[in-house]
């Protein structure tokens, strides 16, 4: 199973990244190297192994009282926005 340049461009689109042809070519090679290395996991029979999803094996979430607390302020939330008016983040028009 080997990754093609088209695979790389397909995944880049899913990840919302643009790659030049040269970058896609380089990433294709890197990915095939890395995935080739990763293939060694197939030496292991894991048929009866449960996947490990949380290393400290938390079985139940910690609950807290359902109380309203002060969130970050409106001004703070907008502080780092690249484009905003006094109330909202500003984005390109979505609906034509």
């Amino acid at each position: 199973m080997s990754v093609t340049k088209d695979d790389v461009q397909y995944v880049a689109n899913l990840a919302r990244l643009q790659l030049t042809d040269e970058e896609a070519e380089n990433f294709k090679e890197d990915m095939n190297d890395i995935l080739g290395y990763i293939d060694q996991l197939n030496e292991l029979d894991t048929e009866d192994v449960e996947p490990l999803e949380h290393v400290t094996e938390i079985t139940a979430s910690k609950f807290r009282e359902d109380e309203a607390k002060e969130p970050i302020s409106h001004d703070d939330a907008l502080k780092n926005a690249p484009d905003a008016d006094s109330d909202y983040f500003r984005v390109p028009r979505v609906i034509e």
Binding site: V3, D7, V8, V11, A12, L14, A15, R16, L17, Q18, L19, E23, F27, D30, M31, D33, I34, Y37, I38, Q40, L41, N42, L44, T46, V49, E50, P51, L52, E53, H54, V55, T56, I58, S61, K62, R64, I72, D76, A77, K79, N80, A81, P82, D83, F89, V91, P92, R93, V94
Partner: protein
């Protein structure tokens, strides 16, 4: 050895002042940072203000437990009002609006936060070369890297620009640079320290931990970093032990596991010899060396680079140029899109074909351009790999498989810790490599983490302590790993190891 306890004695007796300590460190930074590039920002005036304030508290007898400790902070941990860039262009203008829990705790105990340290972009790397600030350079020899990703924090302590520093360890990012720079670096058990305010890379691995010049300071600092936090639901509710007291006591007869998998092929001969010699001294000192086996160790890197990149691809989806961070120039995007439409029209001939053609909406293109301009190559590589292993048709073969192998790796450690208190290994297979040496070979770069990565996969704790100087003049470390929440054991082993040298 100079540690916080001896500094605090001098502060108490009035022999020294925090303000003077800070001036000395600011002066060292001024003299050496242009060479080492450990700090990416230091606000002298802010540091002086902190120092004056804390000196007043010392004089009034109301100072906190970390008064006198001067700490550098990796640029991935949020400090209110400070730039938090993760050494990435995409956050080059981001200023945190809140304090990470660890920062709040340090401030409450009157530590001085002296500045922000260099790192690999979003903590992805093993050399502190993937950074918009330029690489940090090893204080022992500036032709060599400092390790990574918390390389700036390691170098800052090694070059005496601060007492201690904070780093984050996802696959070895505290312990490996500690080894390369000749300082102490500790990765706590996963969930022991709150991750609130730590910019996420791979959330099931990420841990904040300390760098220091000696084991005692690491214990003291960890004691104040650790603990339950309502802001991080994954943080452990287990009570925090008194680490500083524990290291002050004699460690008794430690059972130290020696895994053959960690002393095999790929390890520098001189490092192997150096560590084996030291272990014999520990044995004479009363420790018992027990051969153990961790048979799945060799699958660690493969497992990690599936799981961590998968988590990264999800975590880094938040950088879209909308709410914060870099946003691409929208006028240029509109021009670009209109040009693409025109060309498609010319090629397609009909407007129906044009409508069917796949062309980004302006908003989608804005996301793409902002991310493409904002992220560096290694970050893109990992996002793409992570997206690939999670994509339809590959999920079970990669992500599902890796989660199963992760359990096997953890089980190896659980079995080994039935027999021993701690497990010893080299921290890294070599001393620091030359700047630029591994830049073109990502897989080779990943292999630097071979001895550290399993601890992250298993969620256990580990510490790197300086073990000696190689004939090439560069330092190297030894790692002690302990079972989950057994920080006391690794600190005691490290302390005993440290006392061999003095």
């Amino acid at each position: 050895m100079k540690n916080l306890l001896s500094v605090q004695e001098q502060l108490q007796s009035g022999k020294r002042k925090v303000t003077d300590i800070c001036e000395e460190y600011l002066q060292t930074i001024k003299e050496t940072n242009s060479e080492v590039n450990a700090f990416v920002s230091v606000d002298d005036e802010d540091v002086r203000k902190q120092a004056t304030n804390i000196q007043q508290k010392i004089d009034a007898g109301t100072a906190g437990k970390l008064a006198g400790m001067v700490i550098g902070v990796k640029d991935v941990i949020c400090e209110k009002g400070k730039k938090v860039t993760c050494a990435s262009h995409i956050l080059h203008n981001f200023e945190s609006v809140y304090d990470a829990t660890v920062i709040k705790k340090l401030k409450n105990e009157d530590a001085i936060l002296i500045g922000r340290t260099n790192m690999d972009e979003f903590a992805m790397g093993s050399s502190t070369e993937n950074t918009i600030y330029g690489p940090s350079k090893n204080p022992a020899n500036s032709d060599f890297v400092v390790g990574g990703s918390s390389g700036g924090s390691a170098a800052a302590v090694a070059a005496n620009m601060c007492d201690t520093s904070l780093g984050s360890d996802t696959g070895g990012s505290i312990r490996q640079p500690a080894s390369y720079c000749g300082v102490v670096g500790l990765k706590p058990t996963y969930s022991r320290v709150s991750r609130y305010g730590l910019v996420a890379y791979a959330s099931s691995f990420d841990c904040i931990g300390p760098f220091s010049k000696n084991v005692t300071d690491a214990a003291i600092l960890l004691e104040h970093l650790a603990g339950d936090d309502p802001m991080d639901n994954s943080s452990s509710a287990k009570p925090v032990e008194n680490y500083s007291e524990a290291v002050a006591e004699s460690s008794g007869k430690l059972k130290i596991g020696v895994p053959k998998e960690y002393f095999g092929e790929g390890l520098d001969d001189e490092i192997r010899q150096g560590i084996e010699d030291r272990l014999k001294e520990l044995e004479k000192d009363g420790a018992e060396l027990v051969p153990v086996t961790l048979p799945h160790m060799k699958y660690g890197i493969a497992t990690y680079y599936i799981l961590a990149t998968a988590e990264a691809s999800s975590n880094l989806a938040r950088y879209d140029g909308i709410r914060y961070g870099h946003r691409a120039d929208f006028e240029k995007i509109e021009e670009e899109l209109s040009l693409e439409r025109k060309e498609l029209k010319k090629a397609a001939g009909t407007s129906t074909a044009l409508e069917a053609a796949d062309i980004d909406s302006p908003l989608i293109r804005l996301y793409k351009k902002s991310r493409t301009e904002g992220f560096g190559t290694e970050v893109k590589r990992r996002i793409i790999l992570g997206t690939y292993v999670l994509s339809a048709g590959y999920y079970d073969a990669y992500y599902g498989k890796a989660q199963k192998v992760r359990r096997l790796i953890k089980q190896d450690f659980l079995d080994a810790f039935q027999q021993v208190d701690v497990i010893v290994s080299p921290t890294a297979p070599t001393t620091a490599f030359k700047l630029g040496e591994n830049q073109d070979d990502p897989l080779q770069m990943y292999l630097n983490d071979v001895y550290t990565i399993s601890a992250n996969l298993a969620g256990i704790c580990g510490i790197s302590v300086p073990a000696g100087t190689h004939s090439n003049g560069l330092p190297y470390g030894v790692q002690f790993m302990g079972n989950t929440f057994h920080e006391v054991d690794i600190l005691r082993a490290a302390k005993q190891f440290e006392s061999l040298q003095s």
